[in-house]
Symmetry: C2
Subunit: 366 residues, 2 copies
């Protein structure tokens, strides 16, 4: 057992109960909407947490790289979508995975489909990436010609099959209310539905796959999609509380950091915990402050509610500076552990490389 009172260095705490509840709620919502639940596993990137999804009936998953697909295939996952434009340089790995599991890849140009069809040796399916407004990657949803060019190449291959249209309405992350999220989702899903309608005769099985945590958390009605792929919801984070996707009580991870100096005169605490632990990602609070995390109360092995006006306001590589209300600073001493909800749990978990559950188990990750 590794109890939190033996923590010596920055440590990522995981509350298993909250995490399992987040998984359950999203799985239930997918069932109620009769949509396929293909959660994105990049946030947790862990065999053990993956098994918690399996216990909720999940069989199909999404990952962000072929190597992550390999990691989860090695734990028995048989239906994996790599939601990242095909990296043609990894053809050997594509072939090895496709011979073993139901592998789905993401394409956005005819050129890549052609390269892929020349190199693959086993059947695999492709989703076409549609840009529903984020302008990062993908075919604009109203560009039926580009879609047709891609589909032509897919049909010319004996080993490729077309699965459907996929989008990531990542601009929902700029939303700051349920109404804004709903607006972004409705616009995005309308474009996808139009595409599906256009190609439904030729491909009666084609599906529309959408996925982002704000949309899937906030919308009750997801039934216009066929498949959802949220990922971050497994932990949530400070950003999601600011967007409005969750309450702070639903956030399932917190950083535990040693206090190394207390500067009463400027009401600041120096912690061991910086951008190499939290990441350099910040967010603006409603009051316009740029913060890297929010302090929560120490609650035994876990943590309590948010401490009002106590934020991680600066990070360098190993240090963090926590600004505290003047009447709170007296509660902290050098050698204490301070707990902080991170801005972006995906990046923090990626840097921290393992979890310490609040009941004292260490969980490894990819």
């Amino acid at each position: 057992m590794n109890r939190t009172n033996t923590i010596e260095v920055p440590t990522l705490l995981l509350d298993e109960k909250k995490c399992r509840l987040n998984i359950h709620v999203m799985a239930e919502k997918a069932r109620n909407n009769d949509v396929i639940f293909r959660p994105h596993f990049k946030t947790h990137a862990s065999h053990e947490i993956g098994r918690w999804f399996r216990e909720e009936g999940v069989e199909k998953i999404t990952v962000s790289s072929l190597r992550m697909a390999q990691y989860f295939a090695s734990d028995g996952w048989k239906d994996i979508l790599v939601a990242f434009p095909v990296n043609i340089l990894e053809t050997d790995l594509i072939n090895s995975l496709a011979s073993d599991i139901d592998l789905a890849l993401l394409v956005e140009t005819p050129e890549v489909v052609l390269m892929l069809s020349e190199k693959i040796k086993s059947e695999l399916s492709v989703y076409i990436k549609i840009d529903s407004g984020l302008k990062r990657t993908g075919v604009p949803f109203d560009d039926a010609n580009a879609v047709n060019e891609i589909l032509t190449k897919v049909k010319q291959s004996n080993l490729l099959s077309f699965k459907g249209f996929l989008t990531h309405a990542g601009h929902s992350y700029t939303a700051r209310s349920r109404e804004e999220i709903a607006m972004i989702h409705n616009r995005s899903i309308a474009g996808m539905a139009e595409l599906k309608y256009r190609f439904r005769n030729e491909f009666p099985e084609l599906i529309v796959s959408v996925g982002d945590t704000p949309t899937c958390s906030v919308m009750d009605d997801l039934s216009m999609a066929d498949e959802i792929r949220p990922g971050n919801f497994v932990f949530y984070d400070l950003m999601q509380t600011i967007i409005g996707s969750c309450s702070p009580g639903q956030v399932a991870v917190a950083m535990a950091c040693p206090v190394v100096a207390v500067h009463t005169e400027r009401s600041e605490i120096v912690i061991y915990g910086g951008s190499t632990h939290f990441s350099a990602e910040s967010i603006r609070t409603a009051s316009g402050m740029t913060v890297y995390g929010v302090v929560v109360g120490n609650g035994g092995e876990g943590w309590n509610g948010v401490v009002k006006d106590a934020y991680l306001t600066r990070v360098s590589q190993e240090h963090g500076i926590v600004s505290m209300p003047a009447d709170m600073i007296g509660n902290y001493r050098v050698g204490n552990i301070i707990k902080i909800l991170p801005v972006h749990s995906c990046l923090t978990a990626n840097l921290m490389k393992e979890y310490l559950t609040t009941d004292g188990r260490r969980i490894a990750r990819f």
Copy 2:
């Protein structure tokens, strides 16, 4: 041999010749100024690169955590400063290191010195952290009372010895010219010299330790310091070229990333390589653009000069978007490798976990 033409995934390339030259130039500057060269090893964090310093005569080093001290002690380093406020929760590790090597720690409050003196079992030395304007950690340089309170506690301990005053003029990172850097350095070093003068009778051996890459790169005269601790210069990066610490030709690391999509119509390339590889740190160019890296020409196993107006302009976790001049976009194809100088090599190297040298060797890091 792992030649760069076998790269399949985002890879951090290291040009050993440039790196060794960076080390040599700084070691030479320290010798010319007759100051102790105690380079910060957090940037490279690698046994092998550490040995390149040893070949330049370096015997004293700086690290950013006790665990990193342990990593380098295991490779034979015997004089290590942990330039981070003492983390009192790691007393066991402090004791184990102090019994084995010359360990120096950083203190900034009397409270910590008292805690430390109650817990240590071997001799070790302390530097007092002085805030020379960064306002992150440390005692303000003009607060002689605070310094005296700390020194009183140090003198009460049989095992602690006072080594000197240490500062990190990290605000030099906001400078954008040699003149600004010189101004920041001169102000900082003047405050440190004043402190030294005040305490020189009681502690005739005390030293003033300064260190940051911009100052140590740009200033020819560092003789007012007794010790310098730059770290980033071992690789440099885009940020340092913008500050003016180095030319792009001195940058010794570059990311090599697969091209996964080319969008000619918007003159953008999608690469495999995002914030989990480069970090989420950005910088504003002189023309006001926010960028995460700058494209360099492919030069065989290494790389060539900067490609004009070609920047990594957006990153998500795994993706990056490179904006190219319209007349250049035709040179890039899916499946190519594109090479990019990162904004902040410390964070990029920390995320990438290993180096591939341009002559094909993989080098591990802490």
